[in-house]
Symmetry: D3
Subunit: 216 residues, 6 copies
């Protein structure tokens, strides 16, 4: 359907079922995500493509197939186009996703395999570190003395599923920041050392379980 | 020492002892507060004056008298000048404050008496309300189902002491937003109904206990 | 239901039926309006209150009575609280509004009578004027040579109904800017002289027909 | 010519001849001034009116009478409309101004008499004070150890002529900030004590020499 | 003339004659383009270079050779330096361009050949898609039901000539967004399907006709 | 100590001794540098790493080893993590740095060798060029007629030491802009031709004297 030979490359195509409370709230706050924020319990579909503008066809395919689905994020960044869609009905989100695959001639397995770039747990964060983290966060505040999990991966949008699954595994964590648009995705989660370890291990497991193409 | 006949009107002059953890963290985050963020346990002095530019003399008097004191907020808004200073030594903050009183020929009782404009507790906040609150907050995220305390007062800067005392009385609350620069001060605190009631009652008591001039 | 003696003063309470296409689109764009944008054909309710924080009780009353209603704008400005709600069902919006009136002990006639502060039509706008207007607009671009209607009124939120009715009367106009939050409401509409005259006359008529209290 | 009975109240109407180098550069930088920046040596006309939107008629009158004149600032703030126009030809600026007076049925003496709200010189600014001033400036940086002149007046736009005349009298000063849009105008000028004293005295003299109506 | 061995690589060097009305207006609005906006009918020269800072020598060469030429955009982005200059006299713009070529030892054919990355026409845009597009545009609003042309190319600055030629070919289109700074240029044009097809075909033809080096 | 195999790559690791007055002031102003601004005479340590999030472990290592050290900048950009730390005691900064090297298993010579991408001196800057430079600067204003040194290098953070050494060599220069976060570092320094030549030569010499790995 695209009027150019340039094929739409699927970088991320993933269902994020049953949005958790903090992550759903977080999706309403980033200034670069200017659509309809979801509620906890909604189901989301996240898609990242190249070239970036191909995301405009992707959203059209989805909204026509499932008009009840609402766009939470549509962003055209330096290199990639990013979309988050959600609905209370899982079936509707699945239908929207299928229409995207059909319309772009792709299959879900065309996505890239997530690559872990870095992760680390910093225990008992210092006062000064907390101050400067709080100056840049867009989620909730981190408190000195908490442990901090940082996790970096590519493509960036996988940070969305990572955040949601981390909260499901460790609901007591605080979501300090989730950056899922750009060259790499980055998570900042704080809490007890035990909670952030649970979160880290779940993220690693979830990312390992995602099938996809290798990338350079 | 001021080179004009225009007298500096003291609107707020108040010690905020023993900064609580969340409120200290919050002071580091507002984009309109571009100084040195305090740590929990520091002591603060808050001052609001008219005309607005008189705050530049006020900060100079304070910093010369007590060089260890650090400015957290210096803001010249539409009508008023606002200053927050802090240090780990209470003595130093007291000395800074005394120098301001001496240098402007004022006494602490020249400040305005706080006036309560509004307060309310909204129980079990709805999903949509939480979304739109989270889009405007600069503190931590509110979750649907929590109770929300809103509290409005004048002059605006009294919201700083109100926030700190509310957290001391109910450490389990979440500090969603504290607006202490402008025509009125506003607090958004969330948590259990019991916690936000404790917070509200402490704020009311604290504000009632502050002496000062009546205003129109 | 408010826990303080401070009574909620209703400044604006008005239904805006059948949102027109450009105005609905405009409601999605202002950075200070961070909720759920409406679609053309939806019905809206606009409410402005003092003290500003009372708007948090107002939105809660509305959303509980009519959960299908979505908040488009919730803003707490220097002096006033502002709310825009909408739904595809007029009945739902009416129910939300009635709940607000009941819950605050108000009646629709408690609102202020709109006051026209200024209006003017500038024909065949110059090149330089168009440039500087386009630098500050948040709606569509004005072109040199078009006629420009400017219209200023208080309270500010009446600019919302004025914009919608102007577009209904003259669908060919371009909505350059609509400012409905602040001390005064302001409209910038461009088009043929004939179209902006139709728009101006409709606005004047609509504002004259709104009942309410006089203000100083 | 205005289509409403609301008369345009002239608050500021003043020629600023021979723009000095720093002040001309400063006019290009504020984010709220989005027109054509002037060059040193240009001549400017500054106008502030109420109601705010009447400034759109004012600019149209000026640009039609003298098309070579360029708008540097056109801003509609909370209460007032503000305009700065300039050209290399003084004659053209005078013609633009005369057209504004004729078209609004005003005379230059209708403007308000400037009122000094505050001024002060702070000698040998401390390190911490310099840091926090530099975080909020939009002009050049102030260095610790310099003297700082602050000067506040109403209406705000008189700060433009004050800044230009201060630089003419003391070209060695640094223009740290000039705020001429809002409820009050504010200047921050730094340099040697001698230079900022010269600047202060010239500002006082210039403001005293401006004729106008008294205001409350 | 450059004092380093690093040669200035010319990426884009192109005349954009006879600026169309909407595109000229658009050039005044982007927040990243902070110079002198052009008028319709002016002629522009667009230049993109690497390394980015070499653009400062480029603008100096141009302004000295043709002082009547005004800079509309000067931006130093992550990798490239971008310049737009314009004047009412085509001769002056040509002279400015020639001075740039001479001073950098380049010829116009050194530029890169435009590469089309993607284009697509989405017919009858949905309500939700229009909302989220309007939240991110910096041009005029798109209306639901219109057709949308998206067009992506590299280097980014070619989007400027594409936008201007598209408007010349289909003056009835609405210019929703034109992004010409970054890694890729992107256009969003809306209107009838027929109009956006005319726009697309003209853009393709214009880009194909531009000579230049191949790139990787 | 990092919990992932991804090794922290040290891109920049450098002491910047005895911060000069303007550069110290500049460090307080960038909006992307949200920590504790240094004073003139402090000593700084600058570190850039990949992957970006590894900077969070780096700051923790430093602050634990030397709690008196304050973070001025902590920024996680598209590809790299950037940190600036400072203290009045050189010994403390050295201790912080050593802890970073030990904790990451690196040595100072692991950093990249600076690469000069471009430099140039533009004499007697034109009026229009000055206007557009002043619209984008975050330091002090440049005046028409001054000479401008532009200097571009990679990695970006080396621009910090370059700015400080340039000011030490030529204290009369004006620091217009220093961009040290991103893909490349960029300096804009203005003054007499003689002063900017001195600055340029010192920067070249300083960069040449820095040892490190070659990069592609």
């Amino acid at each position: 359907m695209a009027a150019t030979d340039a094929r739409t490359e699927l970088r991320v195509y993933l269902m994020v079922e049953d949005l958790q409370q903090q992550f759903a709230a977080y999706l309403g706050t980033p200034t670069r995500a200017r659509g309809y924020p979801p509620y906890a319990g909604d189901h989301a579909l996240i898609i990242e493509v190249a070239p970036a503008l191909a995301i405009e066809r992707v959203i059209d395919l989805a909204l026509r197939a499932a008009p009840s689905v609402e766009p939470g994020i549509l962003f055209v960044e330096r290199q990639f186009g990013v979309l988050e869609l959600h609905a209370s009905s899982l079936e509707d989100v699945v239908a929207a996703g299928q229409a995207v695959l059909d319309g772009t001639g792709s299959s879900a397995s065309d996505q890239l395999r997530p690559r872990v770039l870095y992760h680390d747990i910093i225990e008992s964060i210092t006062d000064q570190h907390a101050v400067i983290l709080n100056r840049n966060r867009s989620g909730s505040m981190i408190m000195p003395g908490q442990s901090l999990l940082v996790y970096e991966m590519a493509p960036a949008l996988f940070a969305a599923v990572a955040a949601n699954e981390a909260e499901r595994a460790a609901p007591g964590i605080t979501m300090v920041d989730v950056q899922f648009i750009g060259a790499a995705g980055r998570l900042y989660l704080s809490g007890t050392t035990e909670d952030v370890e649970v979160a880290r291990d779940r993220i690693t497991k979830v990312l390992e379980s995602i099938e996809g193409r290798e990338h350079g």
